[in-house]
Symmetry: C2
Subunit: 297 residues, 2 copies
């Protein structure tokens, strides 16, 4: 399976794709739009897109693209964001003169970076790109903040794992594919989650009425977010429902909602992530998997 993702080889989006299918190969794309285009045009079988981060929040750009483009969501992936300090093999922390990474990653490791005295902190375009630069230019005395996976891909050594300040930094990704391939992707796993986007006029009680179509049918809402639609006096709502789209209760609720919502789109219905049974959340296993993947390159 060829999976399109935004970023450089070794990026967190690619790691999310590897969690989805450990035997996949990957197509790096410069922008999120290019991920959609690659899947729509048949160059990749599916695409992996970040939709929310536990610190940074929802990535509206990708919701916009999910609304505009015809690709349904067929899976979700949760990936803990764990940064490592990487350098050429044989480097010790005290040898470092510079550390490169994306500004957001540098900000997430601020406490650790402050503990390094006499080291220049340099912002770069992305995390995996910093690791790549160190390998390609054989930069000694230079470190990168990136994923273990990026270290494995570019043959760098981990000087320190888990250098992020907050441990609960998690990104949620979705997998999109062509409508015709959706059933094959989902296979025989139970479909128990549905993501929808709809608009409502900005009148008191409109949201309450919208939620009643789910509450009255005992359908659990697991995510809700409002956003100005861009049209005056109209709001967009993103909802995740703990039910499959083809469940009769879900069908009735959506028909009911469509009676008064000016627009409504189902972005996908798919098996939810089972949080308690995530084998990859143990760092050792993640590392082992990363090493395997790098070996396969």
């Amino acid at each position: 399976m060829l999976i399109a993702f935004q970023g450089e080889t070794g990026a967190y989006s690619e790691a999310a794709g590897a969690k989805y299918d450990p035997s996949a190969t990957f197509l790096p794309c410069p922008a999120f739009e290019d991920v959609f285009a690659a899947v729509e045009g048949g160059r990749a079988e599916c695409g992996v897109l970040p939709v929310e981060n536990s610190i940074g929040g929802t990535i509206h750009r990708n919701y916009d693209l999910l609304v505009q483009r015809p690709l349904p969501i067929v899976a979700e992936i949760e990936l803990p964001v764990r940064h490592s300090l990487l350098a050429l093999p044989g480097t010790r922390i005290q040898d470092l003169k510079q550390v490169y990474s994306h500004p957001q990653a540098l900000a997430q490791c601020e406490r650790f970076l402050r503990s390094l005295t006499g080291v220049e902190i340099v912002a770069s375009y992305d995390t995996a790109g910093s690791a790549k630069m160190i390998r390609q230019q054989q930069l000694s005395g230079v470190g990168a903040i990136a994923s273990e996976r990026a270290g494995a891909v570019f043959g760098l050594e981990t000087l320190r794992m888990g250098v992020q300040d907050q441990d609960d930094n998690t990104t949620r990704f979705v997998v999109v594919t062509r409508e015709a391939d959706a059933a094959a992707h989902i296979g025989d796993r139970p479909i128990n989650k549905t993501t929808i986007v709809f608009s409502l006029p900005n009148v008191p009680g409109a949201l309450f009425k919208a939620l009643s179509v789910f509450a009255l049918r005992e359908i659990d809402v697991t995510k809700i977010e409002s956003r100005p639609s861009g049209r005056p006096w109209e709001y967009l709502f993103y909802l995740d429902l703990a039910i499959g789209q083809h469940d009769v209760r879900c069908g009735r609720a959506l028909t009911h909602l469509a009676e008064f919502a000016p627009s409504l789109k189902v972005l996908g219905s798919y098996p939810s992530v089972v949080r308690s049974a995530e084998p990859v959340s143990a760092p050792e296993q993640e590392q082992a998997q990363d090493a395997r993947m790098a070996g396969g390159r």
Copy 2:
């Protein structure tokens, strides 16, 4: 008035502060925590914090800090994010060899940047910092993507205004101050908006029940967002209500909500932004204001 903000002089947060009080002076802080600390410690009278961006989404980090810290919200500011291409006076677009900016700003101007042939695009720590570097090091043939305000602060010329790909890129900021100073900040403007955070157990219908306390009292909810609380089976909800905290209907609704919400905090009650009467949304006026402010330094 001294206003604390996160970032370098010339940052968008500083521009938001200037929109709040055109005669203010500013205290740049390295991190969001430092903004809270500066206000709590009395070094600044208030702080300006970004809470959501129309493309990037809600900045959960600042909601977390608003929950943890004792500073109430006393105002909100909406600032259109308009990037300009800046350089040393006398530079023409065809003279440029390099363009510096924060990766997020570069991404937001991708279409424009692709139209510049033979120009190297370089990521840097922040937008205003790139403008500062060009001025301090007198870099000819180098451009920065930053705000008009940053250009005015560092004496750079605007080669092109509005180089962002999407025109509806807006960031919403809040102003926080010490509890004792809140009334003085608000003055005699009508308080018609209240921001609250509360938790709910993850049981079907819990959110519907929570929204009923507002719907049954005809209180409009203008923003809603859910987020896993970090505790298993519990969600946090951010709500903006179109009513002042001291309105009797709001008081009753919050008392009602507290009957079943495990936690509830009012982050502030303040005058809402009046969108239709925003004089600063005209680019010319924003420029004029920026020029005035730079002159005042």
